[in-house]
């Protein structure tokens, strides 16, 4: 079956699913909006019968507490309460959370109680990410999560042909601890075990077959500290090993210290809601940790988003540099579903590069439950530093449009080349 036809069939199937689910969600909202109690104001909110201001701080995440407290005095929005019940269930690992209304003491006032059941343990299986493209790349993930007493253990299976030069498939596990003494401090450990598949272009371009690995594994402990409001800092290590494809070449390692600094801030209240997100990541592989590779990988990203009524505009900038000799999985790539979509990454650079700049501008217009979006991407990857220049640095562009509904996304991207238009279709969720 031709790729284009397969993509169209896939997109049609996904669009059918999206519209069916959208109709279901719209119906849920219609039913909630018709609730006669919406005209009353909320006098107080309790969780399991305990009023919020009497609840111990450790029992409710601060962000959730702030959102719940903000509802007091507001009209009783049943859809918002149902959303919050779902969020409380997920955050606090209850089997079920049901919102109940009770008569308030004041006139036209009601009390809201979130009735909880089955606390302390939760089990969930999720499909967090799916992506199909007309370039015959498929990516998917399946996770099983057990949550208990604020801790979370996730075991997953993944096959990813989108993010890196290689396709990596295998198992992942991650443990996230409950707050360690203070709400601001959390610990986590991630374990990954992947098998690799290489594109023929990468095989042809690689200087030595020993640079290709058939499998890789990683153990990455991390401590995350919420420094102040919008800033969090994560410090950790990554013990990553690779089994070479070349017999007798032995295993290689890229053991590194890691640092992530995140900033996130929302400006609300005016006619334009704004969101600013910034992130800096450092991966410092050193022989002091027994690493075969020694390098420093820096990556910064910045995103600004403005929403007003039905309009959403955003700009995302990414820049990165690697000094030293990094393995292929840490090289920068363009031509993914999110960075210069539509381009073939193997035509851009089949080995990835140690420098990257990328910018995406997008504009979306909300229609009903969904959003129609157009975007313009520009970016370049190249070899900098003391690396021999293999290809000239070229700034590439792509444009496209798409439709988003919740987590579902359909996109058509057009890489801008000289005189040729080859659209690439992408369909999936959370990519």
């Amino acid at each position: 079956m031709p790729v284009l036809l397969r993509s169209i069939l896939l997109s049609t199937a996904l669009l059918g699913t999206v519209s069916s689910l959208a109709a279901g969600q719209a119906f849920v909202r219609d039913v909630a909006a018709a609730n006669v109690n919406q005209r009353y104001s909320i006098e107080s909110i309790s969780l399991g019968g305990v009023e919020l201001d009497r609840m111990e701080p450790a029992k409710l995440p601060p962000s959730l507490r702030v959102r719940l407290m903000a509802l007091i005095g507001q009209k009783c929005d049943m859809a918002a309460l149902a959303d919050l019940a779902s969020e409380i269930r997920q955050e606090l690992h209850f089997r079920s959370v049901t919102e109940r209304l009770l008569k308030g003491n004041g006139p036209d006032m009601v009390k809201v109680d979130f009735d909880v059941a089955g606390g302390g343990f939760a089990f969930e299986v999720n499909v967090p990410k799916l992506l199909f493209t007309s370039q015959e790349r498929a990516t998917g993930e399946l996770d099983a999560t057990v949550a208990f007493r604020g801790n979370r253990l996730m075991v997953g299976a993944v096959s990813n042909g989108d993010d890196l030069i290689e396709r990596f498939s295998g198992l992942t596990a991650r443990f996230d601890s409950a707050a360690l003494g203070t709400d601001r401090l959390h610990a986590s450990v991630a374990v990954e075990d992947y098998r690799e598949q290489w594109n023929i272009a990468t095989r042809d371009a690689v200087a030595s077959e020993s640079d290709l690995y058939r499998s890789r594994w990683n153990v990455a402990p991390q401590l995350t500290f919420a420094v102040a409001g919008p800033v969090t800092v994560s410090v950790g290590a990554s013990f990553e090993g690779m089994e070479s494809e070349t017999p007798g070449a032995g295993n290689r390692s890229a053991n590194a210290g890691t640092l992530d600094v995140r900033y996130g801030h929302k400006i609300e209240g005016g006619p334009v809601q704004q969101r600013i997100e910034a992130k800096y990541s450092l991966r410092l592989a050193t022989r002091a940790l027994g690493s075969t590779y020694a390098y420093a990988r820096h990556l910064i990203s910045f995103k600004y988003e403005a929403r007003s009524g039905r309009h959403v505009a955003s700009d995302t900038f990414t820049g990165g540099a690697i000094s030293g000799d990094a393995p292929l999985f840490d090289q920068f790539v363009l031509g993914t579903s999110t960075a210069l979509p539509g381009w073939d990454r193997f035509q851009i650079d089949p080995l990835g590069a140690n420098r990257i700049v990328h910018n995406e501008m997008s504009y979306g217009y909300r229609i009903g439950e969904g959003m129609v979006e157009a975007f313009y991407d520009a970016g370049a990857v190249w070899q900098g530093g003391r690396q021999p220049v293999q290809q000239p640095t070229v700034l590439r562009h792509s444009v496209g449009f798409g439709y988003k509904q919740g987590i579902f996304v359909l996109t058509t991207a057009f890489p801008i080349r000289n005189g040729r238009v080859e659209p690439v279709f992408m369909a999936g969720m959370n990519y």
Binding site: Q25, V28, A34, N35, N37, M78, V110, P128, M429
Partner: protein, 204 residues
């Protein structure tokens, strides 16, 4: 005698399980240009849905009236369906019902109702246009009334993707038919024999 006990038990269980389908006559009449149905001893607001309403939540009902040529036909000659959102005013202790239409203009509501008035209002708003009824042959009228729990749809899709556990739970409950469900048929009728009752108001 020993062999009869299981049969008796089965019949007793079936009669209990089908309690909601007890012998209620599905009455049919013409109201202006519409065929409408009514149940003299209607009582579908009970059990969990009623508790949910008394907790201030919403409960959705889906009603479907079909016209068929035989009592067992699966292919309707005409059909009319509607979705209703019910809620209970916890301060005034009265029911409110909204017929959810395809467009905001087609939505209509009624409040300050008793449970029975709310139930009757739902049935009164399930009409089939008289022009769709067969004029030259007898037909049967079927009523299918079921609860659509809007809460079931929450949580399957969220920021963390598609929840397989919630989907299995949702499909399992749908498959087990745990949602209350009422089915009733009556007939045969002839169009010219139908009783005419004029009820003022804008319905469809």
């Amino acid at each position: 005698m020993r062999n009869r006990i299981p049969v008796a038990t089965f019949l007793l269980s079936a009669s209990v399980l089908c309690g909601t389908l007890r012998a209620q006559d599905l009455a049919v009449h013409l109201d202006g240009d519409y065929l409408r149905v009514s149940l003299p001893h209607i009582d579908f607001l009970q059990g969990k849905p009623l508790n949910r309403l008394k907790d201030g939540g919403s409960v959705a009902f889906m009603g479907l009236v079909t016209i068929t040529s035989t009592p067992t036909s699966l292919t309707p000659i005409a059909r009319s369906g509607a979705r209703f959102a019910l809620s209970y005013d916890i301060l005034e202790e009265k029911f409110s019902v909204t017929k959810i239409g395809q467009t905001p203009d087609s939505r209509r509501s009624q409040s300050h109702l008793s449970a029975q008035q709310a139930e009757l209002w739902c049935l009164d708003n399930l009409g089939i246009d008289r022009s769709e009824l067969p004029a030259d042959r007898p037909f049967y009228v079927n009523l299918d009334l079921r609860i659509e729990d809007p809460r079931d749809q929450f949580g399957i899709i969220g920021d963390s993707g598609i929840s397989i556990t919630r989907m299995i739970d949702f499909l399992g409950r749908t498959g087990r038919g745990s949602q209350p469900h009422w089915l009733k048929s009556s007939g045969p009728y002839r169009l010219e024999d139908l009783k005419r009752i004029e009820i003022k108001g804008t319905r469809g």
